[in-house]
Amino acid sequence: KRRRVSENVDIEDRLESLITRVGEKSTSSLESNLEGLASVLEADLQNYKTKILKILVECVAALPEKMAVYTTLVGLLNAKNYNCGGEFTELLVRHLKEALKTGEFDNALLIVRFLSDLVNCHVIVAGSLIAMFDNFIEVTLEDNIPQVRSDFYVYAVMASLPWVGKELQEKKEQEFGKLLMSIDNYISKRQKIHAPTLRVWTSDDPHPQEEYLDCLWSQIKNLRANKWAEKQITRPYLAFDGVLCEALQHTLPQIIPPSHNDEMSYPLPRVIFRMFDYTDVPEGPVLPGSHAIERYLIEEQLRRIIFKHAFDRKDCAASLLSYPMKNKVPLNYMIVEVMFGELFLLPRCPRLEIYYGSTFIELCKLQPGSMPQVLAQATELLFERIDSMNLSCIERLTNWFAYHLSNFQFRWSWDDWSSCLQMDPELPKPKFIKEVLIKCMRLSYHQRIVETCTEDFAPLIPEKPQSNFKYEKEGSGSLPGTMTAHQLIQAIKSKCTPEETMVILKDLPNPLKEDDETDPTYHPLRIDVFVSTLLHLGNKSFSHSFAAIAKFHNILKLLADTEEGQIWVLRTMFEVWRSHQQMMVVLVDKLLKTQIIEPSAVANWLFSSEMQPEFTKFYVWEIMHSTITKMSKHVDKLQKEVDDAKDKLDAYKRRINDGLEDDDDDDVPTESLIERMEERLDLAQNQQKRLFLIIFQRFIMVLSDHLANCESNGIDYSTPWYKWCIERLQQIFLLHHELVYRYISTLETLLFTSDIDFHILEIFQQFCALRS
């Protein structure tokens, strides 16, 4: 009996391998492979029908690039065995309903498209597909739903039309015409308040940056005008027309979208990123126009390849370059455009930024004769248009470019950009170069960057990072803390205990203290002497600094027991390390992790007047975002602990109720323990909310000041500083959108009220529109 089981498994494995591999490179033609496979499957249907149907359905979502291969295969099976085609359709529809209910919208989209192509393969009746589409479009008539919901259902229909438009036009002209009219109606009345937030470029010159539904609809309208003829989709079923025409077709059951609930999160809208047109491509095949359906079809497939191959960048690069229709389009240009489109995608890029960077490196390795040139041309274009680029995208571009250069010996003709040297250094171009050079330095070393550029670039070359310890400088004798600092150095060098340092600090007078008054909330001089001495002694490397912080953790906590004290710790750190941005980033990180300082102190410090000259530098925001992220990770961790503890207790109670004796109830949490955990969670959640409120309030303050000042002085508010500042505000919304969304009503009533300047309010409203 056992042998029988393993035989079955063998056959099932073989079936799986046959099905999943059909359509890959092979010595014989695709048609004969499909014909052969259909016969094999037909013979096995009797014993393995369930398994075969399951594998086929899985291929729909897992291998969308081979969709037409599988629709054809299903068509051939249906022609041989009508019931099999029916059961497959039924199963697929069940999967579609499930996907719509659970919010797996991309899978749902792929299934809808597959069902559409099954009309072409004579498996499904055209009229029943139209009926499903009609049900989808009807969602646009629902009341009180977010636009992202109707967007999805309309998009699912539109994204299937390149496949099935022609067939529907021929078979159901009237119904199809009505459907198209409903879509057109919806597209024309949609709100697009969110679009500015998602645009990579504010300018439409030279290339319009269109909202994704608008763009696809224009492409579909062109396709319709071309009588639904396109040059991009493979249609292997055409070769089997004779066989498939004979087959009987199935009617789709009624498919009604599940009704809306507030828990559901629909796909966010996008703006289509465009950086090339046909004039950018020197020779060879022509780049399809921005409203050609081919552009959409290729882009979509490339995007899927990039998203799916994230586990292996080499595989990704190879798959991109072996795109099936590569001789018909300037593939390298399209790859570069789509890769940057993904990297720049707002609110966030779909994968780690370094994935795109390391894949670009592989692409250059695989095509050393052409890819580096296209990439250099792209960089040049991106730089030329940087003035109107979204700040988050400038930042990602900066990180990528420095990383890319570090993999190619930092070779770049900087001189071509030397006109920036005469500009206001706060303008995007010089700012970009400066930040790129800083990032390059962080990946290499100061001298290397000095040697990379010509001398006239000196104004943009970063300072050499080094610590600045005022108590050992000439003239430090007159400073009130110098003697104590020197004592402290001696004591720490001779391995004193943390408590002994406290004794040394004890006699320092508090400059904040006035006669007979109560003690001030912190002691700036003690903090200054202790923190700067500690950082000075640990200045050799990150590890040295971390060790120093760890050893004197208690003292630091004691000195920084109020928010003012914590801000003073940060100020002192800034004084010591202002030329070493990376050091400040990792030190703040360490101080947060060791809970010496709190997130709100970091936010208040970054907005403080001493930090104003640093405000537009990228590292400041690196610190801000990592602070927010750290805070939210902390909340998530506590939340998970509470959830786990509750689950454990519930399970235990169930066991007791069922009368099961429980020997090891040691690790079952008590009610009071859970209560304490919930209190801690509550505290952290309040801290988190407070952090966001501080950040938004400070933004509103600095921006309002700026706008009011400009108005009273009669000058244009739109300065470089204003661009950096308002777009940083926008970035906080976007990067942490899931979190911020939870506070939206608090923000609306407390901060973003109708009496603040419209320029600030607008940013908030655009953010709200993202999901409305």
Partner: protein, 101 residues
């Protein structure tokens, strides 16, 4: 034993990073590897005698996923003009930072 070792490797969040230049600093390594996630610690490999960097280090992340990303995206790319090699490590123990130079 070997089975234990393999189990440790499957759970590890620590990478052995080799083929570094002797001049590459902890800072540079931090800059590159933090692109894949939050770093718990970096331990520089040191020459047994001279106690100077000798071309390798250990990078420990907080999560397995971040460490996996570092292997996916950093292994085989360049730092300080040298092709960096990353491998799973069963976890750093004191003393292992001393290489043969």
């Amino acid at each position: 034993n070997r089975a234990d070792q393999e189990r440790l490797l499957l759970l590890s969040t620590t990478l052995y990073v080799g083929n570094l230049s002797f001049y590459t600093t902890e800072e540079q390594i931090h800059e590159l590897f933090s692109k894949c996630g939050d770093i718990k610690r970096i331990i520089m490999g040191l020459d047994k005698v001279r106690k100077t960097p000798c071309g390798f280090c250990f990078v420990e992340y907080y999560t397995r996923e971040d460490a996996e990303n570092a292997i996916k995206y950093i292994n085989g790319t360049r730092l300080d003009d040298r092709i960096v090699r990353t491998d799973w490590d069963a976890g750093f123990k004191e003393g292992r930072q001393y290489g043969r130079g």
